[in-house]
Amino acid sequence: MDQHKLASPEMTFQHHTDDAEFKKRVKKTTILLSVITVIELAIGLIIYTMHKGESPSEFLILVFKGVVCILTLAKAYYIVSVFMHLGDEIRNMIMTIVVPLLLFIWFIAAFILDGNSYKNLRNEFDPYFKESTMPKKHHANEAEKVPAHKSEKE
């Protein structure tokens, strides 16, 4: 490994990767990201065909959506740690980026639960909201209907 001149005075040492190892790593990550994306698309199409079916299992759809979320997090990990080289930085620096992002756990949970609670409250106390927005059957089912009161004439 040849010693480059350090690019900036803040740096004590330079990260070195030889060309062959680097190319292998980039190729591996690219293939990994593509494969994960293809799997996600396949799951998306499975969800689509399930929606078209007679009585899709809500639980199974939720499981598939959960799997897609986990795959997305895996993709994000590879982009950040390999493409953005965060994985090669020193630990203290990584922590200043990653630890604040942990706020997202609370952020997502709190707001999604809040939205869900708002829906439940409205369904309980606002009959018009419930009547006008609740699909009669599963929403992609071809047989579903919309309440007829919308076509009332004066």
Partner: protein, 291 residues
Amino acid sequence: MATTTATTHQTKWWSGGKSPFNLEYGKLMMWYFLMSDAFTFGAFLISYGTIRFSQNFWPDPNAVFNAFPGAGHANLPLAFVSVMTFILIISSVTMVLAVHAGHNGDRKGVIKWIAWTIVGGLAFLGCQAWEWHHLITGEHATLIDGQIQLVGQTTTVNPWGPLVDPAVATEAMRNSSTNTLARIVHEHDHTKSMKDLMGMSKDQLLGMINVADMHIRAKGPVAFGGYFYGITGFHGFHVFSGVIINLVMLVMAQKGVFDRKGHYLMIEKAGLYWHFVDLVWVFVFLCFYLI
């Protein structure tokens, strides 16, 4: 690799005299900017999630995003957005190669890979322009206030509500304007001109429409349009500014600015920004197109 790890352990990072993060100032600040930008995007997406969870009905993405350029009315869910996703992944890879070429001080390599990255960015923006145009100008027969109207996906109306019972839809057809009926007939039957169709009576037009085959939907949640255009637009604006930044990098590399400076750290910072744009798309793709 082994030597690097050894250096990390031996160095007393916090005893002064050196940067404890071993990072150039500009690059460190780029990381913190990206972290704050992640919170901005996160807030948008979480707000979208909150509204979505507060609704009894939300449109199925496979029904909304099923068009492909040049494929007419063919039903191709997820096809076009997968093209967009791969464009962005590939442009991210070319950016990695540009940064690596910069590490080696390889000016020609930097120019080549940055140029490909710009091509990828422009291709993505082109795809997004087509998608928006298709959504906004598309005419979907929708049950609105007891009659059928032809509407596109805008920030004030969403044509992808629950499917309507054919009996209700037929009744609504009778209340609709002649113009709407003529346009519905014209969309599938080009043998008669719009002018001829407008001259026909309502009953004649109704006789030419097969309501059961049209799968007419009621209005969907209005918030869908605002969130979709707002968030994909904000992301598209990031892609746009990324393309501009990369263009500047291209010109600077061409003029030999980095060679005179002796390092290509600017390319690394532009690279971080570009990868972040790809990273955000991964989540936008998840939230709007997959689940």
